[in-house]
């Protein structure tokens, strides 16, 4: 009490005497009221009330005799809501939540849950990590495309050195652009018009310089210039959304084959993703549809690189999957493609010098075909654009590749470590038991092979389930005994099981070994010696949830 008095004096600026008086008075008032049988409520604090406890039976701790505890009064304190909240501030953010399982399942599921959690946890962690790595890779991809487009306008002419690599750059971007275009069709016009003017000038200046021997014949069709600008505009404009594109690209993948079929059939250029005919004079869609076939060759080298790179890189997936369709569509339109273009479906590496040649040829061919060739020259021009890119592009392109490789290796290493760490049993089984257990695919008991309860989580799903299933199926014969236990009043098979075999559920094996003595597992005859068998350690692995569950199922069978 004195402490309270002190605090009051300090904080409330009361005289010591008056504070003490007050507290004393307060307490005595409360006491008196309680003695009267009244409850005392202090608002903002709580209520003190006298509580009557009924007499109840109990046991004297010393003698063991039964005793009656008489009824008595007790002072109970119920805090006010204010007080509760103030005191509970550290935990105030927490709230009660519902859990899915119903009450009946608690008993059975709980012991298993602990084991299962161990199994599920690492996989969940992996999934999260995989997702993170995926996101990282996408970001890296986005970064690289960003850098490329940024540098485009700045770099000086070093075309001769890196025309091939630069060719590679475009397809990635173009592919990305294609996807984006699918989704943002309406925005195209606005963007194009806006950026067209900006870009037209630098591009125009670059073009004459850049024109290498290969690109000479491709001479810019004056009419088409603005469209090429458009393409570049798109390239630059959309590189910002490269990340989005990759995600959307995946979504679009399913629709791809159909779209290309349509392109093939009609000979008309149909806007991918929209499945509707578009006016051939409409610049953007043609651009889109035709660029794809053109750049598919350039894709080849990119594909190789991307295939080396992790499966997780979406652009690679995108390109690879699209290439078959592209090449098909390409072949159906002779003006677009020279027959000698050695393009294979899964992106076999083309020699790099082939690419410019074929492009040249196609261009020269298509120039003759007037209306259809609207967009063809754009490819070379985009090539031109990229051929202005300097060495940095190559470096930038290569840099992400090894990052991808490293991350994939890291992921694999993680998987291996986790597998070894969490499932040490796997490696044992793989080495020793496979030969022995194969012939043991035994008669089917009622307990059909308990399918690995969580097959996805096992790191070596093929190896482990085989051995475990066979073990469970094998007929059990207990010839060796490791101990005997006399059956006394109050002892239980499950206690023996826990002691000798590691888990109470494994009593079923003890029961099986002593079937001649025990008729009813619930009613084991007293005074008999129970032999504890030596059980296959794979069956009585305490840490293995399948073992526990299998034993449980056996017990259900026996207890009917």
């Amino acid at each position: 009490m004195q402490e309270i008095v002190d605090l009051m004096v300090v904080h409330r600026n009361m005289t010591r005497k008056s504070a003490e008086e007050f507290v004393r008075q307060l307490l005595s008032t409360i006491e008196d009221a309680l003695l009267e049988g009244d409850s005392v409520k202090i608002s903002g604090f709580g209520t003190f009330k006298p509580q009557w406890n009924e007499p109840r039976k109990s046991i004297d701790v010393n003698t063991g005799n039964e005793i009656i505890i008489e009824g008595f009064y007790k002072v109970a304190f119920v805090p006010d809501n204010e007080l509760k909240e103030l005191i509970n501030e550290p935990y105030s953010h927490l709230e009660a939540i519902e859990i899915g399982n119903k009450a009946e399942d608690i008993i059975e599921s709980e012991p298993e849950n602990d084991n299962f959690k161990q199994v599920i946890e690492p996989m969940r962690v992996f999934e999260e990590q995989a997702e993170e790595i995926k996101n990282l890779l996408n970001e890296i991809g986005a970064l690289s495309t960003n850098k490329m487009t940024a540098k485009k306008e700045k770099s000086s002419v070093e075309k001769a050195i890196e025309p091939a690599e630069n060719l590679i750059e475009t397809p990635v971007e173009v592919m990305d652009d294609v996807e984006n275009i699918v989704l943002a069709d309406d925005e195209l016009d606005n963007r194009v018009i806006a950026e067209e003017e900006e870009l037209s000038q630098p591009e125009l200046t670059e073009k004459p310089e850049v024109i290498a021997e290969e690109t000479m014949p491709i001479i810019i069709d004056r009419e088409e210039e603005p469209v090429s600008d458009i393409e570049d505009a798109k390239v630059i404009g959309f590189s910002e959304t490269a990340k989005q594109i990759s995600i959307e690209a995946k979504r679009e993948q399913d629709t791809r084959p159909d779209d290309f079929d349509i392109i093939r059939e009609g000979g008309k250029i149909i806007f991918p993703g929209k499945k509707s005919t578009v006016d051939n004079t409409h610049p953007e869609p043609e651009l889109v549809a035709d660029i794809k076939p053109q750049t598919e060759q350039a894709n080849a080298k990119n594909l190789m690189q991307d295939e080396i790179v992790a499966e997780e890189t979406l652009p690679a997936d995108l390109i690879i999957e699209n290439s078959p369709e592209i090449s098909q569509s390409v072949n159906h339109e002779p003006p677009y493609f020279a027959p000698e273009s050695p393009v294979n479906d899964e992106g076999e590496v083309l020699k790099q010098d082939v690419i410019p040649k074929s492009v040249v040829e196609t261009v020269s061919d298509t120039e003759k075909a007037a209306t259809d060739a609207v967009s063809v020259p754009y490819v070379p021009e985009s090539v031109i654009e990229d051929s202005t890119d300097a060495v940095p592009f190559e470096e930038i392109k290569k840099r992400p590749v090894w990052i991808y490789i490293l991350s994939v290796l890291a992921l694999l290493a993680l998987a291996a470590v986790a597998a070894w760490f969490y499932y040490p049993g796997i490696f044992n089984n793989l080495n020793n038991k496979t030969a022995q257990t194969l012939p043991k695919v035994a008669e089917q008991t009622n307990l059909n092979p308990v399918e690995p309860v969580i097959p996805d989580t096992l790191a070596a799903p093929n190896a482990l389930p085989d051995t475990i299933i066979n073990v469970f199926d094998a007929p059990r014969q207990f010839t060796e005994y490791i101990a005997t236990e006399p059956m006394k009043r109050g002892s239980m098979l499950s206690i023996f099981a826990k002691k000798h075999l590691g888990h109470p559920y494994f009593w079923v094996y003890i029961y099986e070994a002593n079937k001649d003595i025990i008729q009813d597992p619930n009613n084991v005859p007293l005074g008999v010696d129970i032999k504890i068998p030596k059980v296959d350690p794979r069956l009585i692995d305490v840490n293995n949830p399948e073992c526990v569950q299998f034993a449980l199922k056996l017990s259900e069978q026996y207890l009917k």
Binding site: M8, L26, F48, F77, I87, Y91, L94, A96, E98, I99
Partner: protein
């Protein structure tokens, strides 16, 4: 005055977790662990978060006074 008293008490409880009143009892802050509770009718399992509560334990003097009287 009462307000002052209760506020002081609360502040004290937050810091020291316990206040003793001689001849009366002790007010104590106790932590309740989180638990899963099952609604008996709907069988819905709920996870109740941990919390801090104030509990009062009467002193023996008070107890005897109370019981001798009634």
């Amino acid at each position: 005055m009462l307000e002052a008293f209760s506020h002081t008490c609360i502040d004290r409880l937050k810091e020291d977790n316990s206040i003793g009143f001689q001849g009366f009892g002790t007010l104590e802050v106790r932590k309740k662990e989180e638990r899963i509770s099952v609604h008996p009718v709907t069988k819905i399992r709920t996870l109740i978060p941990p919390k801090l509560v104030v509990s009062f334990k009467q002193s023996n003097i008070l107890k005897e006074k109370l019981n001798s009287q009634q």
